[in-house]
Amino acid sequence: MRVDVNGEPRELPDGSTITDLLQELKLDRRYLAVERNREVVPRERHNETRLVGGDQLEVVTLVGGG
């Protein structure tokens, strides 16, 4: 299936979860937050949350700011 991650299209196996996605992206999970279709998905629900074709995902972290 095709989802959008940080504005870029991406192919994922059907039934993938957010955890699957983050593993594939090799991101340090401690430092990030995930938004699915403009709603935050708390990290404790990353395992159970299955993605659907067309999902809009934002994976964000902290950077320097004032």
Binding site: V5, N6, G7, E8, L25, K26, L27, D28, R29, R30, Y31, L32, A33, V34, E35, R38, V40, P42, R43, E58, V59, V60, T61, L62, V63, G64, G65, G66
Partner: protein, 277 residues
């Protein structure tokens, strides 16, 4: 009378900070330079921004690797937002990250809703709207604002935990351009509520700007560029720490009044010389 500042903490909502200086983490040459500058500034509260993970070429070198989250309370901002909805989304994402870090900053946010990319001036209408939404969502909201006293009062009425008027535009280094407005902000915000925290956010360029702000009676100062872009960020970080304490002490100590001229520091009696006329 004597001024005791040992217990002179900055209280914002449920948070108590030992330093009245809040420092940003942006615009340093390197993460290491930022780390040492924060340390030298004496702050225990630092602002951070929320941004998309770089999916490719992630150098695996993250800001948080350079921040001791035991030592600092993080204050996530909503920088880069130009409407209330986006600000709420960003605030929630910041909270989610800080919950993961178990940092006490998870329950507050520095709200910035900007009006355009050139001046980065805040949009008062959208800021008031976003404040109401975030308060309803359980956030303690620190509002970056202009120095307009009426907007400041509206923000407090909307539930802001602190109003943070700008001394001058972000990064302009012009200091407090309109002390008169800051004074009226204080009059509005602290009326029958003297402990309500007012923090000058943005515009300070050097140590005397910080001291002058504190001497107006504000509760704290938030800055970033003035340290990060100084020729020597370490020296300026120390300067800002000292200036914050100096200005606070001067405010508490009751300065002398201004006069057109002159009263002698040395006694006038007992002089051996002749007075003129």
């Amino acid at each position: 009378m004597s001024t005791d500042v040992s217990a002179d903490t900055l209280r914002v909502g449920t948070h108590t900070l030992s330093s009245r200086l809040i420092v940003g983490t942006g615009k340093y040459a390197t993460h290491a330079e930022m780390q040492k500058s924060l340390e030298l500034s004496g702050t225990d509260c630092i602002t951070v921004a929320v941004r998309r993970e770089r999916l490719i070429d992630a150098d695996g070198n993250n800001l948080l690797d350079f921040i001791d989250t035991e030592r600092y309370t993080l204050l996530p901002n909503t920088a880069g937002c130009f409407n209330a909805d986006d600000a709420v989304r960003v605030a929630r994402l910041g909270r989610e990250i800080l919950l993961g870090l178990e940092n006490p900053g998870a329950d507050w946010v520095k709200l910035e809703v900007l009006s355009d990319t050139r001046t980065l001036l805040p949009d008062p209408v959208a800021t008031i709207e976003a404040t109401e939404m975030l308060v309803a969502d359980g956030f303690q909201v620190l509002c970056y604002s202009t120095d307009d006293p009426v907007v400041a009062r509206r923000l407090k009425e909307a539930g802001a935990a602190s109003v943070m008027p700008a001394g001058s535009p972000i990064g302009s280094g012009q200091g407090i351009l309109n002390p008169n407005n800051i004074r009226i902000c204080m009059e509005y915000l602290k009326e029958n509520d003297p402990d309500y925290p007012v923090i000058v956010d943005a515009g300070v360029g050097t140590a005397s700007d910080v001291a002058e702000a504190m001497e107006l009676g504000v509760d704290g100062v938030l800055l970033n560029t003035a340290v990060a872009h100084a020729a020597d960020p370490y020296g300026m970080a120390r300067a800002m720490r000292l200036a914050t304490e100096a200005g606070r002490l001067a405010y508490l100590s009751g300065r002398i009044p201004k006069k057109l001229y002159a009263t002698a520091s040395s006694p006038e009696e007992g002089v051996i010389s002749l007075k003129p006329r």
